[in-house]
């Protein structure tokens, strides 16, 4: 569960593939307009719980994002060295590299990356407090976060 597993879901393409993306019927028209700026919609979803990372990546993909799921922060960072994403959505409390350290490392590699953290809370306070002490302020989205709300945030 800890190793990097690029989602095997057929609905979630890898960035290296030709961008023939999956679009659900209802978002197809919307996604066409999005398609033009598809380069700004590459998103990494990081959560040590595979069910969350996978389901979110699938939802985001169905809404026109190029989403890729990771179950460990380090794997996402390694991936970003190859190809910079536009957005990262990461869980906070994760074994080894936590969410804050992950997004800070990603920002080093991709300075313009937009960062969203989300958490089910336990232990989040301490991690965020340490980040604040170092001058890093992040908005925290609470889990469970309804996909509609998440999409609104991402599009804002």
């Amino acid at each position: 569960m800890i190793g990097t597993i690029v989602s095997s879901s057929s609905l979630v393409p890898s960035f290296s593939e030709t961008p023939t993306l999956f679009f659900s019927a209802e978002v197809e028209s919307q996604s066409r307009s999005v398609n033009a700026k598809v380069q700004s919609r590459r998103i990494l979803v990081i959560d040590d719980e595979a069910s969350i990372a996978d389901s979110l990546a699938e939802i985001l993909t169905s809404h026109g994002f190029e989403a890729r799921a990771f179950y460990a922060g380090q794997k996402a960072v390694d991936y970003a060295r190859e190809q910079c994403p536009d957005i990262v959505l990461s869980d906070v409390v994760m074994p080894k590299l936590n969410g804050v350290d992950t997004v800070l490392a990603l920002r080093e590699i991709c300075p313009s990356i937009r960062i969203f953290l989300f958490s089910g809370q336990a232990g989040t306070g301490n991690i965020l407090q340490r980040a604040r002490a170092n001058g890093h302020e992040f908005e925290l989205l609470p889990k469970p976060l309804h996909p509609d709300k998440l999409l609104k945030k991402l599009r804002s």
């Binding site: 069910s51 809370q121 989040t124 965020l128 407090q129 908005e139 609470p142 469970p144 945030k153």
Partner: protein, 524 residues
């Protein structure tokens, strides 16, 4: 004939013994019929005088000492040889020399002086408190020829009296209730502390049984206490409850000791009761806060375990609903599941989310915060059929501590619900505002109800910790905490309330803001 004076160094009950002694002297003298008898009587008298504990001194009308017994020597330090033939004024302090003139003039007039409390000098210069009884001595012809003077040393008695006064003053000034009772449990004394703690004045409770202040279910305690006291045992720091005159329960720590007379017989009990009501309340508060802290820790742990699966379920239902082949029936099922899920999500966030770390202010949409708080009380609103009216300035947002703001609003809303009758109304108003005193900008949120209102008397106490009008359910901490939180942030709380025509209460909090803003997106 001459004059006889008596002195004693012992503190004794006033003069019974002396009177007997004098009667004895009289009888002896009356019985003098013959010379032998007279000699015999004189010997007996001399023995009585010599063996007396009181100083017995005789003097002539010029105040010259003519006889001096053993007790006089012991009390004043002079031997008979030293003082006989000298003036009695030797014993009188300089500032009291007039005493002797007065005494002699009374004696010349044939009057008796009884129990005259004064001071005399010992040979070594120390002062001796004495009680004087002086009687004229007449000769056969009835002419007054001198005075018989008995001086009782009351130095110890005076000291005892002083000690008693000092003790009484200590007892009266004590913050603790100090009460004495006899072995039948009848109250004998009641100090100011007892008046304050139990509400009864001394004059209304002395003479009444101590059980007057013992709660019905604790009456058996008194039986146990009295039996311990009878056995000569002490009761130390016994924590119990008593009932004040107004019916309030008072938590006290009791210490009870037997009172013994001079023969060591137990005649009653002295009780010291310390009011530990506040101490108990503080202990309870501490216990509650410890419990809350552990609930908080538990909530944080549980939150993670609940919120993560909820996130996954939310996502899967969302995906399922997007499926193109979805039948109408399945879609309805999923919609229902989604609604139920939203409910669980909301409850989880409200209950578990309250313990979220909020050590830094975060940008908040005030309307959202208010909605979150109202959501917690939805069932209560429905139960009491309350109308909730929202009057919230659109786009009002602030950078503040979410947990604190929610806690304050929760306290106000909860109080408003309790104040309202069935079918009542609560109005919540939120505005960007300026504090008229400090001219600082901030937000003002008012929670108004049309409930019972606050009495003038209670209005003085509503911000006092542990004051609550909700006997069963109130902690008496809500408004106190709210005011404390606001004070810390430079804000304040005000209220208007009226009990007439059910116009209710409006509680208004002002929270100063360094920056006021509309809801922004994610901060990266």
């Amino acid at each position: 004939m001459g004059v006889i004076e008596f002195f004693s160094s012992q503190v004794r009950q006033p003069d019974d013994e002396f009177m007997n002694m004098m009667a004895g002297i009289g009888i002896q003298m009356g019985q003098v019929r013959h010379r032998e008898q007279f000699e015999d009587a004189r010997t007996k008298l001399a023995a009585i005088v010599e063996s007396s504990d009181d100083a017995i001194v005789s003097k002539d009308l010029n105040g010259i000492v003519t006889s001096w017994n053993a007790a006089a020597e012991r009390i004043f330090g002079y031997s008979g040889e030293e003082i006989i033939g000298r003036s009695i004024t030797l014993l009188i302090p300089p500032e009291l020399q007039d005493d002797e003139i007065l005494i002699l003039s009374k004696i010349r007039a044939g009057e008796r002086i009884e129990h005259f409390q004064t001071v005399r000098l010992h040979k070594n210069g120390t002062r001796v408190d004495v009680s004087l009884t002086v009687s004229p001595i007449k000769n056969k012809q009835g002419r007054i020829i001198g005075a018989a003077k008995i001086a009782r040393d009351i130095t110890q008695q005076k000291k005892s009296e002083e000690a008693a006064f000092r003790l009484a003053a200590i007892v009266e000034s004590s913050d603790d209730a100090i009460v004495s009772k006899d072995l039948n449990g009848i109250i004998q004394s009641w100090n100011k502390g007892a008046e304050r703690i139990f509400g009864y004045m001394a004059q209304e409770i002395v003479g009444k049984p101590i059980t007057t202040i013992i709660p019905a279910e604790l009456q058996a305690e008194e039986v146990q206490i009295i039996s311990k006291i009878r056995a000569g045992e002490r009761v130390d720091h016994f924590q119990t409850q008593r009932v004040a005159k107004n019916g309030d329960r008072v938590e006290i720590s009791l210490t009870i000791s037997p009172i013994k007379d001079r023969d060591g017989k137990i005649i009653g009990a002295a009780k010291t009761a310390r009011d530990i009501t506040q101490q108990r309340k503080l202990e309870t508060a501490l216990h509650t806060s410890e419990r809350l802290a552990s609930v908080g820790r538990l909530a944080a742990t549980v939150a993670h375990e609940i919120n993560n699966p909820l996130e996954a379920i939310t996502n899967y239902i969302y995906l399922a609903k997007q499926h193109p082949d979805l039948s109408g029936k399945l879609k309805r099922y999923l919609d229902s599941a989604d609604r139920e899920l939203a409910r669980v999500t909301h409850i989880a966030q409200q209950t578990l989310g309250f313990y979220r770390d909020n050590s830094q202010p975060v940008p908040l949409v005030i309307a959202d915060v208010i909605e979150d708080v109202l959501a917690i009380y939805e069932r209560k609103f429905a139960y009491k059929d309350l109308t909730i009216q929202r009057d919230i300035e659109s786009g009002l947002a602030a950078c503040t501590l979410q947990g604190e703001l929610k806690q304050m609003l929760s306290n106000l809303v909860s109080n408003a619900i309790d104040a309202c009758d069935e079918g009542g109304k609560i109005v919540i108003r939120a505005r960007e505002s300026e504090d008229y005193r400090s001219h600082r900008r901030g937000i003002r949120i008012t929670v108004a109800d049309n409930g019972v209102g606050i009495s003038t008397q209670d209005s003085l106490k509503i911000f006092t910790p542990f004051f609550s009008t909700k006997k069963e359910v109130g902690t008496g901490l809500g408004l106190w905490i709210t005011r404390d939180l606001l004070n810390k942030r430079g804000g304040h709380i005000r209220f208007r309330s009226s009990q007439s025509a059910r116009s209710g209460t409006a509680m208004s909090i002002f929270l100063p803001m360094t920056t006021s803003m509309t809801n922004s997106g994610a901060a990266a």
